[in-house]
Amino acid sequence: MTQVAILPDPLKEVAPPRGRSGGAAWAIWLLRRLGLAVLTLWLVSVLVFVATAALGDPVRAILGRDYDSNPGRVAQLEEQLNADDGLISRYLSWLGGLLTGDPGTSLANQQPVWGQISANVVNTLVLVLLAAAVMIPLAFGIAMISAHYRRRRPDTVIQTILLALAGVPEFVTGILLVALFSTSVFNIFPAVTIATPGGRPWDNLDGMVLPVATLVLAVTPHVSRIVRASLLEVLDSDYVELARLKGIPESVVMRKHALLNAIVPGIQVIALQLAWLAGGVVLVETLFSYPGIGRQLVDSVRNHDVPMVQALTIIIAAVYIVVNLVADLLSVLLTPRARTAISS
């Protein structure tokens, strides 16, 4: 995953507006980015809707061979899906429901969609954020150590380990962690999340350790390698050389001069990884029986539960867009050239 290549250049994207005050320029820039985000989300909603509609008759898929023998249920499901209406009017009524916070009713159990997914959305977000909270300092720390020992033995060892970890799929890491820490070797941590009624998975913090560790091990190598690469680039630059010549201690050079300048690619890759985690944790959720949206999405697809699939896909897309928006914003704020370009 070499996400650096597709790093959007904020300088190109936003032409500096002229003759306006800095604040107004910022507001316009933000509004424009928000508008683009909403537009993207709308396009996604169209795609999701068309894709789920193109999968064939959902009623037939749900009922299987009972389709012919159970006309009552066919009629009931068709009414619920408004199958008689055209594609566009169905889309509009679905979009309207989505905007008013009512994504419809599940076909599988006739319960409101939002009531079923809200808890899982929070569960997944908590899992991802916990993983991020551990992963970000860890990845930057490793990158700094690695860059410090550039091309010497510690660096080589670290890079080899990171490369190996990056090459192993996360469910393999997870299975190994479970075997090591909860079943075969030691019996320290729970192997799965046992939900307590009405409770949250993190009520028992022990149970969060292995899922979070699995995600951290899956994501850290990518972030760490990118940050190391940009650190090395900065450390080779003239101004760092100058700072060293001026006699500034190496640790200060690393923190103040190098790290701050190397942070932007790091933010971008973290954003991409977080966005991937929001939808891609399904394997980890399955392995640890963690009640999140990834597993719910798989379950819903299997049930041909169109309203659930639509709502979950939109939420995952929204997370993607929001995370990337925040990352862009942070990148601009941390890049003086880009800041000036906007406010000047």
Binding site: L63, G64, R65, D66, D68, S69, N70, G72, S106, A108, N109, Q111, Q116, I175, V178, S182, T183, S184, N187, P190, A191, V192, I194, A195, T196, P197, G198, T286, L287, F288, S289, P291, R295, Q296, V298, D299, S300, R302, N303, D305, M308
Partner: protein, 527 residues
């Protein structure tokens, strides 16, 4: 991820209907039940040491998801079935040997014409809300699952034969069921786990039954909790609390058992049996009457020639099928279903692979070097594609060229018109299975894959269904089975064994021939 045959069961309504279907036993005449009243419903523990009370039992259920429900009469997923078996009880119940025992009914007696059935309710049974169980409640429950307009899983057959105009609760403890046709094995229809008795003011949001556990909480796709019912009419449960946890993944389920987080799992995949035993746990192996037949349509070439059908049956190496597709966890089949039926024709010689004879039959039929297409699919269960591929190899020996076509999904509009295919069925007794699987559709044969249409066979089965005398009924059914044994279109090579797992220290589980994990009777289990 994993293709567990039982996991697939929850996926379609059609499969559920088959699984929970109207299992029918000819075992229980009215006299048997009347003599067998009293406290016959609960068994003892299985271990050597006395079982201790207290603690919490967490059961890891296979599958489950947003389709989960607490409805007593239409469970969809495996965790649903586990919940239903602990919350609710039917009038009669299948015991470990797939024989009828009285549960909420103390006795059930048929009139001499098998048209009027008198059900005596067991006295002193209360619902979880303290209300006494009356004949009115039983009638209400039957009306709910056997509603002629929309019968639920247990009520398919009942909805057609009960005359609801004349059926009534005579007094609080007596229910008189009137049928519009003689039906000698009505009692077997009332023993399904999907025929639980619920109070007339039942509300699925706060479900009330008579089972050994009281509803506490429920989150579809996640977990549900129950507490011991102290007012239970049988022996109260050992554990204080029961929790049923959904598991989408087999490995997660087994990991949890190994880590000591859960105490029991149902539907253990064969490849994980050693893992459980290695970790000090135990494996519960139960015989079942579940089968995955090859189905030959008797009304199309080449299977319309009975010699071809007989040859195909002689081609199958039954033991190899069991060893390779069931990892050896199975028992031999003899092209007859309903192995637990008291009328099962066990005296017919076991059919074995006989390639020479098969070749000779094919030659007589003019079908040497026959080419056939065999339809299979993953949605039948993982056993089916494996068995299909093995059959290709076995058929080569007799010069038959079989081409396997894997359909996704298998259960689409072509189902029931494949000339040569597979299907799956679960434990049932003969009459119910014969009706649904070998009668013409308009006479109740909803899933007659082989298009079998044999007047003589049908009249024997119908006569047996009206016959109250068990010996006479068995004779009629034996004749019916002989016809199918000689001419039928099904190749039944074996019956699957059910494998479930439990952690060290768990006591009281006994193999049950019908449902997994001792029919999920967690009241008999101590931890």
């Amino acid at each position: 991820m994993n293709q567990n045959p039982r996991r697939d069961l929850q996926l379609s309504r059609r499969q559920l209907l088959k699984y929970s279907g109207v299992g029918v036993a000819a075992v229980a005449g009215s006299s048997f039940l009347a003599a067998c009243g009293g406290n016959g419903g609960s068994g003892g523990g299985g271990g050597d040491e006395p079982q201790s009370s207290g603690g919490i039992l967490i059961h890891g259920a296979t599958g489950g998801g947003s389709k989960d429900t607490l409805d007593p009469h239409q469970p969809v997923t495996n965790p649903d079935i586990a919940r239903v078996c602990n919350l609710y009880e039917p009038l009669l119940i299948w015991n470990n040997d797939y024989e009828l025992e009285p549960a909420l009914a103390e006795s059930i007696e048929a009139s001499s014409d098998a048209r009027t059935w008198t059900i005596k309710m067991r006295p002193g049974v209360t619902f979880h809300n303290g209300k006494d169980v009356t004949a009115e409640d039983a009638l209400f429950s039957i009306q709910r699952f056997a509603n002629p307009k929309a019968p639920l899983s247990a009520g398919g057959q009942l909805s057609q034969i009960i005359d609801f105009q004349s059926t009534k609760a005579v007094d609080p403890t007596t229910l008189k069921l009137v049928l519009n046709t003689p039906y000698a094995i009505l009692d077997t229809l009332l023993a399904e786990y999907t025929a639980g008795i619920i109070p007339t003011d039942f509300d699925v949001k706060n479900p009330v039954g008579t089972g050994a556990f009281v509803y506490e909480s429920f989150e579809p796709g996640k977990t549900s909790t129950f507490t011991r019912y102290s007012g239970y009419w049988g022996d109260p449960a050992f554990v204080d609390e029961l929790q049923i946890q959904d598991f989408a993944d087999d490995n997660a389920k087994v990991n949890a058992l190994q880590a000591g987080q859960i105490q029991t799992v149902d539907n253990l995949p064969y490849n994980l049996i050693d893992t459980i035993e290695g970790a000090g746990g135990g494996v519960l192996v139960s015989d079942t009457g579940a089968w995955v037949p090859f189905t030959m349509r008797v009304d199309v070439e080449p299977f319309s020639d009975v010699r071809v059908r007989q040859a195909m049956r002689l081609i199958v190496d039954r033991q190899a099928m069991i060893d390779q597709t069931l990892s050896g966890y199975g028992s031999l089949g003899n092209d007859l279903y309903a192995p637990f039926d008291p009328a099962y024709a066990s005296d017919l010689p076991q059919r074995e692979q006989d390639i020479d004879q098969a070749k000779a039959l094919l030659q007589q039929a003019g079908q040497e070097g026959m080419q056939v297409e065999l339809f299979t699919g993953d949605d039948i269960g993982s056993v089916a594609p494996a068995a299909a591929n093995l059959f290709v190899e076995q058929a080569k020996l007799a010069g038959v060229d079989v081409k396997v076509t894997k359909k996704t999904p298998f259960y689409d509009d072509d189902y029931l018109s494949y000339p040569f295919a597979q299907d799956f069925w679960n434990t049932r007794n003969y009459i119910a299975q014969a009706v649904v699987g070998t009668f013409p559709p308009e006479q109740g044969g909803t899933y007659n894959e082989t298009h079998w249409d044999n007047e003589e066979h049908r009249s024997l089965v119908n006569a047996a269904a009206r016959e109250l005398d068990e010996t006479k009924r068995a004779e009629l059914l034996h004749d019916a089975q002989e016809i199918e044994y000689e001419e039928g279109g099904l190749i039944i090579w074996g019956f699957r064994q059910q494998v479930d797992g439990y952690a060290a220290g768990v006591q009281g589980l006994e193999p049950h021939k019908y449902l997994p994990l001792g029919a999920y009777r967690f009241d008999k289990v101590s931890v």
